[in-house]
């Protein structure tokens, strides 16, 4: 087998090692690559910024589980910091049972950072299953779906929730999710009730939701860790999102190089040995 063909047989653990080095090196020697703000992120930032302080609350639905924390948690923290820095009230809920702990952790940490008071500046509504049933129910009356907050306090006794009945009193709802929950918010909240919906999604799902962005069904969108990094840049913070961007760029370059070299090796070795594995059935 020629050298090119041998390259295709390389033990994949060498590639794992190369990727590990590509991830670690920028953490230890940061490069500070510039982060350009894209329109979907800017639109979402503007929508949050436009909410009047100490008025109707921004709703954040933390609909993700630990498997997507690296991409979505930085978004949640950035949006919460933005809101609290502008004295915007926040109500957090979750449609994913695993999201309960993540939502509570993020909310309590950022609220403590800004000295915010529970029930006056923020409220944690907790978890409700049913996704579309919850989204639809909130369109009639939030209390039908969340009669109490996560700690058992009835919503009628929470000062900041006074007068907040349904989507008419919610200036913006942002859903952070790695699954099709975003679609449920658009279909069951935006379409029937004109709710203003923004989204933060994993990069895997971002391509699925660009059509909603183009038609205005989503106010704005953060896609993956890159979206979180852009939002952090807009609020002048240097957190997990921004920290990860150097590594992201280096790994992407490494992968591009591997793809190019792999293709050269593949076609180069095919020229010399036409019998290839797996067949080439016409696509």
């Amino acid at each position: 087998m020629n050298r090119l063909g041998k390259f295709l047989q390389i033990d994949r653990r060498w590639i794992f090692l190369a990727i590990l080095i590509a991830v670690l090196a920028p953490f230890i020697w940061p490069m500070g690559l510039p982060i350009v703000i894209t329109k979907p992120v800017q639109d979402l930032y503007n929508a949050v910024d436009a909410i009047p302080p100490n008025g109707e609350p921004l709703f954040i639905s933390i609909d993700y589980s630990p498997s997507t924390v690296p991409e979505l948690d930085p978004m949640a923290l950035a949006i919460l910091r933005h809101a609290f820095s502008k004295d915007i009230r926040v109500a957090v809920l979750t449609l994913d049972p695993a999201g309960y702990g993540l939502a509570e952790r993020a909310l309590e940490a950022v609220a403590a950072e800004f000295g915010k008071e529970r029930h006056k500046d923020y409220v944690f509504l907790g978890f409700q299953p049913g996704i579309s049933a919850v989204v639809l129910g909130m369109g009639i009356n939030i209390r039908n779906v969340f009669p109490e907050d996560a700690y058992g306090t009835p919503l009628s006794e929470i000062p900041m929730m006074e007068g907040i009945r349904n989507y008419d009193q919610i200036p913006l709802l942002i859903t952070l999710s790695g699954t099709a929950v975003v679609e449920a918010w658009v279909i069951y909240a935006h379409q029937p009730y004109d709710a203003q919906i923004g989204a933060g999604v994993t990069a895997v799902m971002a391509t699925d939701y660009y059509p909603f962005l183009d038609t205005g069904q989503l106010v704005g969108m953060l896609g993956g860790m890159r979206g979180a990094a852009e939002y952090e840049t807009l609020i002048d913070r240097h957190d997990a999102g921004v920290r990860g961007m150097d590594s992201q760029s280096v790994i992407h370059i490494l992968i591009i190089v591997l793809i190019v070299v792999g293709n050269i090796a593949y076609f180069g070795s095919r020229k010399r040995a036409p019998e290839t594995a797996g067949g080439d059935a016409a696509a």
Partner: protein
Amino acid sequence: MRALLPALSLSVSVLLALFPPAGRAADAPLSEVVRETAAPAAVTGLQARDYLDNNDRGDKIELSWCLSADDGAGALSVLEYRVWRSQAPDEQGELVATLEPGTAAHVDTGVTPGVAYYYRVEAFDGALSSPAATAGPAVGRINLFQTSRLPVLVLSLAFFAMVIWFTRLAARGTNLFVRRIPGLNAVEEAVGRATEMGRPVLYVPGIGEIDDIQTIASLTILSHVAKIAAEYETPLIVPTARSVVMSAAEEVVKEAYAEAGHPDNYNPDNIRYLSDAQFAFAGAVSGIMMRERPAANLYLGAFWAESLLFAETGFETKAIQVAGTANVSQLPFFVTACDYTLLGEELYAASAYLSREPKLLGGLKGSDWMKVITICIIVAGVVLTALGVPQFGRWFFTQ
């Protein structure tokens, strides 16, 4: 000298304050005197009615009025309008809104549908309120039909009508043409190659539940593959991730072998339930690929993140691979690592083509003609937009 004029004006002011000219209050300038005795003019033409909007839940009442004559008038300038709501005509009720000057309309949200309300609107100038204008009773009513959603109704009815029509045609035995999916050729070729090499065929029907439409489509194609495998006497291995799917697969394969005339060749040990856990199932199937070395791997059904694991491991074993799923996010992985991929709806089309089941055919034909309607509307929209006719888009703008 410079200090003389200010001193003089100060003295005059003090004298005027102490000894005001006749006809005015002792210590008030003209505007304040007038304010004490006259309130701003009332608003006129107050109307209260059920608010009609795109999404009327009957919980809004719309108010409109003509501005007070003293709105922006200077001396008696209105500072705000106050809106009161009650359920009795002679009660003031509760204050529901304070509005800026220049506001001539307001939508009162949060009323209970079906309850009669009475409204009062007053102009307030900072000290006094105008006489209240009253209106009522106004009742919020839930609309039976949202006219702005008419396009949704029309399209939905058209779609249902087409599906039902084609299903009935298929049930009556009419030959409904469905083009042969090229992927089916790839499936048959894969089974043929496995037979030549004397190695088994691996068929993974996805990890969805039995009620997932992709699993049902996959089992239809499994029946077809099992018949070919039975004819060629090629072993067929079917690992499943759901116990109910395993039972269904057993029935399908057994029947296929019987129809092909080789009931004795059916081996129930080849239909295996491995694990419900996603990655445990992926690991177990990878193990089968490495140990039993099937020459053809068919992945047809509902897949999620484990799709790339299957496709990669199968590629390593140099098997011919054909995949099909409607989970769009997994299609790139299959396209990259497999020899042929059925994209999305092609999976359903393949199962409709093979089974000729009326419901599957009816659904396929109905959605096909829905696509024709969609294409026509888009082309019409593009042409009309180019000709500067925007009304077209507004008919679809249902918000």
